[in-house]
Amino acid sequence: MYRGRNRPRGKASEDNQVRGPNSALTQFLKEQGINAESIRQKWLKSREKDKEESNGKVKSEDEDESVSIAKPATKSRRRAIEISSDDDDDDDIDYDDESEEAEGDSMTSGVDNDENKDQVESSASIRSAESRLKRFAVDAEDSDEAEYDEGMSSRTVSETPVIEISQEQLEQKLKKSRQQLQQRKRKKKRAAELLDRKTRRISTLQDTCIAQISANISRLQQNTNSSDESISAQIRDTLGGLSTQNMNKLARTLSKNRALNDHTLQLFLRTELQTLAFHDCSRLSYEGYKLLAIFAPHLSELSLQMCGQLNNEALLYIAEKLPKLAALDLDGPFLINEETWDRFFTRMRGRLKSFHVSNTHRFTNHSLESLFRNCGDTLVSLRLCRLDDVSDYSIIPRCLKVRNFERLALEHPSKEEYVTDDVVGAIVTAAGRKLKHLNLNGCTALTDTTIVNLKEALSKNEGAESILESLELEELDQISTDAMVHLFSQVPMPQLKVCSLKRCLLLEDMAVTELFLNKAGEKLVALTLNSLKEVKGECFEAMSCPNLERLDIGFMGCANDTLVKELGDRNPKLEILEVFGNNLVTGKAEIRSGLTVIGRQSDTL
């Protein structure tokens, strides 16, 4: 049954009425003069002829003959099947329709011919049913078995009296065969979907949209000359266009759906975008980064998270092709080696203002030194997080030159002893009062000395206020209440908007009370007190933060229904209150309108 697939279809395609492979089969049958009507006519003619010859014979013989006469028709159908069987399953269905048509025709003619009505009906339907059954058998089995089965079936036709198979049985068999065919198709579809990693039967609208977008981008890329500069604009126009403001929103959505790749990247090329943040670049190839560098020349701030495929060449391209680039945030650029970092910083000399890097083992002490050597004059924002190969953080205070250093984030050093009180003390002293953002999350070796140094640095001029906007000291489990009281009572922080003391396990009520009494309370927008287990709740009596929008009091033993109500009343702008791990906050808690409490045990989705 294996046949070549190069059957010429030229004629079929020339015919304007022919649509697709199904119609090609119909066309072939037409060319060969095989159609339901001619088969019927032929059969009727031979039937009449036989009838004349065997006029005096008994009825039973007549029936047998009708079966044997029916054979040529079946055979001609079989020939059609054999020829068409190199097409897909769809052809089978088409053939099915054909045979149904034939069946229909026979039925109609049967009505006209009163004498032969019953016989014509039964024999024609049996014949078409038999041929269909055979065809399904051919589809279902391997080719060898199919051929054997085919032989068996044709023998059955000639030897077994057809009358033994009742109409009901036939219908059941037909129904079963149809179901099997459908089931096979369904399985095929499911398998294809699984290969596309689709486990849910109904795709989400987001997936459908992304598939549509990707397909269109591919199509347009194929149809348009790759050197055509309007392709990106054309893609955006075709897909409905998007404002520049929504570009970053689109980037976020694509990242969230893990759908940002070299194709979808086209959406962001040749735009006036100045700031771009990709939260998941894991599918972006180094070629993609190069395209971005070439075709988005106005970028001044670029954030590439999970950029594992960013290689040396692409990073240097970014430095070279983005003349306005001043801020770069890279997460996971582990392909970039020491030499390339060096070359990159050399190229960025005089313009790199902000450099954030995290999760790479190839950013070394030497790279850090190179950063300050080349870009130290302009650098005002630095974030180093989870860098396995940086051990000497004292390079920072040694090389820090600028007077207006604004942001420092040293997070989760590979060993806690790398970031010590001395290092941080030296940095904050060097940075001085200009510091706006300080983040020391996960630097667990830090003690009260750091806090005292910070206080000294921030209050160099007596009476002057600090301009600190965010202070994050998460997981500093050695800092004490006394130190924090000292800091908050001595340094007014009227600009403080974000404060996190999460898991500073030694802190007690007094430390938090002092924060609320500080001018900080007026501007504070987000406060995290998660896991301060020594806090008993008295501190909240002093709390009045008119601008506070988010508060996290998760895993604080003192949190209960009364406190939740009180916090809602005291902070008019509070929108989100997190209470994870507080089993005393129950479903009975009174929550004022506009406030959302997240993390209650009683809340189920």
Binding site: R186, I202, L205, Q206, N216, R236, G240
Partner: protein
């Protein structure tokens, strides 16, 4: 089956059954207990263009209709006009559908 009205930009109202609206976790939450939308049976989505919202409603009804069909039944594809795909993606992201 109760009905909910979704209000789009230019205050065009699109009706939808509560069951279909609940396909979106965002709309479901809005229609749940503590929120005003539950009593009003009206959700204002004033950032969404009317034609996009209409498509969203079509999707929600499509999803609700075929959500519980048996393994054996075929589910037709949901068609999206190409020129609407970017806008629709952002709205789908917002509604988490």
């Amino acid at each position: 089956m109760s009905e909910v009205i979704l209000v789009s930009k230019s205050r065009v109202e699109v009706p939808i059954s509560r069951e279909a609206a609940s396909v979106s976790p965002v709309l479901r939450s809005m229609l749940s207990n503590p929120f005003l939308e539950q009593h009003q049976n009206k959700i204002e989505l004033l950032d969404i263009e009317p034609h996009v919202l209409q498509k969203v409603v079509e999707y929600l009804e499509y999803h609700q209709r075929y959500m519980l069909v048996s393994e054996d039944e075929d589910i037709p594809d949901f068609d999206i006009p190409t020129e609407m795909s970017l806008e629709l993606l952002l709205v789908a992201d917002y509604l988490n559908i």
